[in-house]
Amino acid sequence: MAANTKAPVLVVLQLSGGNDGLNTVIPYSNPLYRDNRPKVGIPEDQVLAINDSIGFHPTMGPIKKLYDEGKVAIIQGIGYPKPSRSHFRSMDIWHTCEPEKVGNEGWLGRAIRDIDPQKENVLTGVNFGRGLPRALSAPGVPVASVGNLETYGVLTGIEAEDQRTMALETFSRTYEPMLGKGPVLSYFAQTGLDALEGADILSTAAANYSSSVKYGNDDVAQYMRNIVQTHLANLGTRILYTTAPYNSFDTHAGQLANHTRLWTQTSKAIEAFYDDLKEHNATDNVVLFVFTEFGRRVHDNGSGTDHGAGGCAFVIGDAVKGGLYGEYPSLEAGKLLEGDLHYNNDFRGTYATLLERWLGMDSKPIVGGTFEQLDFL
């Protein structure tokens, strides 16, 4: 396995459901913010100000701290033309870089194929969660999708250990002869053996890990821990991905309480992730990208906020030039796009920056064109 411990690694955290950008990086001194958020606004004295116009949500102290250390790039006003307000469609667009037609190849699937065209490492890309996000899928690209690192594997339902060992031996002995029996059976056999090999290798990651960092019990925190465990195991993994599940950021109702809980957990998970890497002297070659499929309506609905456009994203890491990128979208009625914040930089520019300046690859075929890159790397 080509395990280069210092090869650049990209970690992606997807906030599903449409995170409310206006209450994440808050334009607290803008009177239009107060006008539009009578019920779902954050009081000015609670905002963690980063300058005299904007600041973080009160629960984002850990991210504010990293920001103050110059390790956090905030991408303001990120989006794409003709925004879709459907969760699924918009997430698809972010995953495939295809805003016009429906694509079936994910941008990171393509990146993994570029990094490891000969498929020498079945763990070049690893997802944590059930089901593979389309961002990671591309025909013939093996990506391990891990529901639980401690119990990940083939035939994990067999409890008796000797019985499972026997079943796995039978499994590989029945799959191997299928290699070379025509394209379909060969593909299935290779996929099965890849999965077995990936599971075998990954099972060492949890076993060899120790850390003094405590993570929360929520899904995001546990998966961020799994990501660190996998990274520290030096398995040659270059792309790691996880998702805040259940569309949890879809805060149509009860947003103040829900958003507070979500960002408390997410901020703590990111803090633990960073501290854990630091404890293992492994922060220098990891960059974390945090995104969501869209922002939310400018005006609240009395209890929550509905689907909108133009959101914010974060890039975090030692290699990152912290600061503000893009512009904070105007809240003036005349400058909105169909009642939503107007994006001013295309997400494919951020992708291109990550691909070119961090992973060191040609971004054009991956994001489908040339987009203005940002200087956070």
Partner: protein
């Protein structure tokens, strides 16, 4: 004990339904193959599901507003229906004449469309396209409600030709031109819906198809070489008489019921693997005046069908529903149902929400390293659970064969009872070796059920079991 008529029945039930436990296969084999085909083709002769019971237990199946609830309801129907082909054909058309939750965000509306597929899916193809053209979920999904006189939106016009009826081309020729797309779109102007308001902030409610003559472009149009003041219905009438429509329906039926074909976009350049079978189905399409039921009757009774065992990769729905039917679980709307439907999604088929209007890519493309692990672990967990009635039945039948079983017999008995499965020689000898491992196989031993279940688990983990 290997009974060819039961193995053939297992094949028919896997394809025309979602598989069947052994007792049902025996009963159907006794009734006869052709009689079973007739019964499947006429679902109205069998009782429907007791909806009162379903709805009493599952409130979310009543209000039909949540994707998860509607997925559950459909999966429950597939598991428990006495009319398996009715559900199988609805699933077939859902994968061809696609609408997706991603855009519709109205599960109740989509469910009405699936009901339409249940009722019209084996009828006349022309009638089916007409129903589809006025189906509110489709009108919204493909933007025909955004297509206006003088300002057409081509989405529906194009997909109607490309993905729903003709295909881009066949035998080296194109089936229609870009002008035909535009003319079709013009003919369907004014075919719209009322209440096409998205979910927020008003909630979800049903839309209704309306024809707005004021928004209809009544001018002359030339479509596939015929000129007239065509309206939408004329377009469908012209479509269904094309040889390409016969080819399209025949090839889709073949891909779904007989053997995996290449993905639809490749059809233009890749001829059918069994041209003779396609020719027979095309002839039946015209002979029967576009009747799907007649085509299916020919198909199920043909040698090309009977000989095509294990020539298709099971879809995730077939895997989960088939396994659940085999083990006899979820015969009642009990808790845990959502986990079952989520499993289907994790295996790569989010029911009601296909990735694109092209539907799911089938065959080999169901499998990647993530979905394969999901598939193997799910099926192995099910057949390894000796408390489930279907697994207990398999064990009882093996026990009834005598006080001891040879290792070969344990393997072959399990294969038969799972539905006439066949293994490659190498796989078979590995499993016999596994069976031999624990010493003499005494069916009266307390450990026998576990040993049989272990064999079932190793069988469902093979590459062979990925096929139906």
């Amino acid at each position: 004990m290997a009974d060819e008529s039961i193995a053939l029945m297992a094949h028919l039930m896997r394809r025309a339904g979602f598989g069947a436990p052994y007792a049902e296969l025996e009963a159907r084999a006794k009734k006869g193959y052709e009689a079973t085909v007739e019964e499947l083709l006429h679902p109205e002769t069998q009782p429907g599901l007791d909806e009162d019971i379903m709805l009493r237990y599952k409130a979310e199946w009543v209000n039909k507003n949540a994707l998860e609830g509607q997925q559950e309801e459909w999966v429950f129907r597939m598991i428990n229906t006495k009319r398996p082909l009715e559900e199988k054909i609805a699933l077939f058309w859902h994968g061809v004449l696609c609408t997706g939750h991603a855009k519709c965000e109205n599960p109740r509306q989509q469910s009405l469309q699936f009901d339409m597929f249940r009722h019209k899916g084996m009828g006349n193809f022309r009638d089916l396209l007409m129903e589809l053209a006025v189906d509110p979920a489709m009108v919204f999904y493909l933007d025909n409600c955004m297509s206006h006189k003088g300002a057409i939106n081509e989405n529906w016009g194009r997909e109607l030709l490309e993905l729903f009826s003709l295909g881009v081309g066949m035998d080296g020729k194109l089936n229609y031109s870009e002008d035909d797309v535009k003319e079709a779109a013009r003919a369907f102007t004014g075919w719209t819906v009322v209440n096409a308001i998205p979910r927020y902030p008003y909630g979800r409610y049903l839309s209704k198809f309306v024809y707005d003559p004021k928004d209809h472009d009544d001018g002359p149009k030339t479509f596939l070489g015929e000129t007239g003041n065509w309206n939408g219905e004329d377009i469908i009438n012209i479509i269904v008489k094309q040889p390409a429509a016969a080819r399209f329906v025949a090839r889709h039926l073949y891909n779904y019921f007989v053997a995996d074909e290449p993905q639809v976009p490749a059809w233009q350049h890749t001829p059918p693997q069994d041209p003779e079978a396609i020719k027979q189905l095309e002839a039946e399409y015209f002979r029967s005046n576009y009747d799907i039921r007649s085509m299916l009757k020919l198909l199920f009774n043909s040698d090309f069908f009977k000989n095509a065992r294990f020539a298709r990769v099971k879809s995730p729905v077939e895997t989960v529903v088939g396994t659940t039917r085999l083990v006899g679980d979820f015969t009642f709307p009990k808790p845990g149902f959502n986990g079952l439907t989520l499993t289907i999604r994790y295996m790569g088929q989010d029911l009601m929400n296909p990735p694109t209007v092209e539907g799911w890519h089938t065959g080999k493309e169901w499998i990647d390293s993530g979905t394969l692990v999901e598939r193997i672990n799910f099926t192995a967990d099910q057949v390894g659970n000796v408390n489930l009635p279907g697994v207990r039945d398999i064990i009882a039948r093996l026990r009834a064969e005598g006080p001891t079983l040879s290792p070969e017999r344990l393997v072959d008995g399990c294969l038969e009872l799972l539905g006439g499965y066949k293994l490659a020689d190498e796989t078979h000898s590995e499993l016999v070796a596994l069976a031999r491992n624990g010493g003499e196989i005494r069916t009266g031993d307390a450990g026998f059920p576990q040993r049989a279940a272990q064999m079932l688990q190793s069988i469902v983990a093979t590459t062979e079991y990925l096929f139906a």
